[in-house]
Amino acid sequence: MPTLTYRDALNQALREEMQRDAGVFLMGEEVGVYQGAYKVSRGLLEEFGPMRVVDTPIAELGFAGIGVGAAMAGLRPVIEFMTWNFAVLALDQIVNSAAKVLYESGGQIPVPIVFRGPNGAALQLAAQHSQSWEAWLSHIPGLKVVAPATPADAKGLLKSAIRDNNPVIVLEGEMLYNTKGDVPEGEHLVPIGKADTKRAGRDVTLICHSKTVAVALKAAEQLAEQEGVSADVLDLRSLRPLDEAAILASVATTNRAVVVEEGWPHCGIGAQVVDVIQREAFDQLDAPVLRVTQADVPMPYNKQLERLAKPSPEKVVAAARRVLYLD
């Protein structure tokens, strides 16, 4: 299997789907001539031309709405946000148009559209440019939300998202674009709504997604080496719908869980996962489920403070030790 970066896996998914379906087009800031702010769309303008790789003005709300309108008329737009921080300006179109037109119309008008771009913090981009929006987006019925952690999942989930007949949010990561991994060639589709065990274990479940998968895997190594603890690392991959069965299956064997996320704690993804576990696996839990999140503050610019604010393997190990009553 060829090894690709996460960036090239996304690029391959876009190229393959655009070749497969003439109704698929890419629209966003700098996606064409500039080859993408993060080069995810490299080469696509040259291959598919300006009608299918469309540079936009800085007008997130407007071009998100244009995408939704095009989807209502039967195309399959892929809208790239340079980062999800800027997509906050476009939420009205995502929430009030994309997520509602099918329901409001009594099922007459589906909205097959993908909104994608990097989510969460990179390095020292400070408060306005370092935010994770999965909790907000997952809150909304009418949307699907995925957050791939590996190149293979990035390709497989983006392809599934483009073929889905609903608005699908694809949360990528600036810090993930350069990461490498094996990626199946051609028709590789990862189903939306299915979590994936990235490392099997018996003693504690580490539930994670996107960038925190690497954090959880590092923590699992440390737990194995330092504590002889075997951690089950479950990558949610899809945040809406949530793969409750996979979560409960793992907790049924480990009886203990830690949920790791990049976002803020209050009403985060982890809170929902905790709700599911305590409701459905109450009698199986040997300890409360603990969470590791970004510190409940705007992201600071200073490097040391930023490190303190982010989830880390050390924090996950500490939480795992607590749910294992090792302290």
């Binding site: 009608m51 407007g62 071009f63 244009i66 008329a73 409001e104 119309s105 589906p110 019925p141």
Partner: protein, 332 residues
């Protein structure tokens, strides 16, 4: 040189068109009057924004469209849906929230949809549907089609950012869209001049290098002619147009708002009613000897009957099945 027979034929079609437009305006007027009654009786709920006074805008502009063109509007869209040919039964049933409604009772007054007639809704966030119209225009151009998208919105929507983002992109991408601003002078209780630095909406077209036209919205023939010019521009040149149609809302902003009061006087409303688009066309048809009082009464009686039938249909229709709560959240 036009032959006498050809001339006569085209006059005849003109007359037919005008008769049709008169009927449609009357249908909308009577429909909305009935909707107001039903609302007062609690048979219609939520927000209900009536179109009375503005009939010439929807009727005149939609007469310039083909069946394969697209239409999209705001929450004040009953008249547009009816003029587009959505049946009075399906619209009334939707206002009643019934399963037979054009949105299966799930959308209501603000969210009328009829995909067969390419009536793309019914949207409740001011300005929110304006980029949707551009997106539909984008899809038309993408497929190298020759349809157009006609988009209705109120003058107050001009103050919201997405209107400007959209006009700029529609012009840059050369999209076949007709932006039809129904300037009825008020956004809810706010006179446009109190919240807009420039009150001629057409002025904004300059900033986007877009064609524009100011139209008398109480004259259905003027609206029709201007829209035909705009549609031609969109269909053949793929150039968008900004139409500012000056009209007037006779009723309150919605059924829950006062007809007049702090924001406009009773006298102003009465004075505006003297420009009534229906009387205006009826008078012309009489002057042209095309219609007499009896003929007019006949049309009125016919549309009243159609509206009565629509109410009966709506009342007789079932509510959606409880299972409908969870359907159409996601498509398969």
């Amino acid at each position: 040189m036009v032959t006498a027979t050809a001339q006569a034929a085209s006059d005849q079609t003109q007359v037919e068109l005008q008769r049709r437009m008169l009927r449609q305006m009357l249908l909308i007027r009577r429909f909305e009057e009935k909707a107001a009654e039903a609302y007062a009786l609690g048979k219609i709920g939520g927000f209900c924004h009536l179109y009375i006074g503005q009939e010439a805008v929807a009727v005149g502009s939609l007469a310039a469209l083909r069946v394969d063109d697209y239409v999209i509007g705001s929450y004040r869209e009953h008249g547009q849906a009816l003029a587009r040919g959505v049946s009075a039964n399906a619209v009334m049933a939707e206002l009643f929230g019934k399963a037979t409604g054009c949105s299966k009772g799930k959308g209501g007054s603000m969210h009328l949809f009829d995909v067969e007639r390419r009536f793309m809704g019914g949207h409740g966030i001011v300005g929110g549907h304006v980029p949707l119209a551009a997106g539909i225009g984008f899809a038309i151009k993408y497929r190298a089609g020759d349809q157009v998208c006609l988009c209705y919105f109120g003058e107050a929507a001009v103050n919201i950012g997405v209107f400007h983002e959209t006009l700029n992109m529609a012009s840059v991408y050369k999209l076949p869209v007709v932006f039809c601003c129904e300037n009825n002078r008020y956004g809810m209780g706010t006179a446009f001049e109190r919240v807009a630095a420039v009150t001629d909406v057409v002025e904004h077209a300059c900033s986007y290098d877009m064609a524009a036209e100011l139209v008398n919205g109480m004259d259905v023939l003027a609206v029709h002619a201007a829209t035909e010019r705009a549609v031609a521009r969109a269909r053949h040149g793929r150039h968008p147009t900004l139409l500012e149609v000056r009209t007037y809302r006779y009723m309150g902003h919605s059924m829950s708002d006062p007809l007049h009061g702090v924001y406009r006087t009773k006298d102003e409303v009465e004075e505006q009613k003297q420009r009534d688009p229906i009387s205006h066309l009826a008078l012309k048809l009489k002057e042209d000897g095309v219609l007499d009082d009896a003929g007019l009464d006949a049309v009125d009686a016919e549309v009243r009957a159609a509206v009565e039938a629509a109410v009966k249909f709506a009342e007789a229709s079932p509510d959606p099945d409880p299972s409908e709560l969870a359907t159409h959240v996601l498509a398969d």
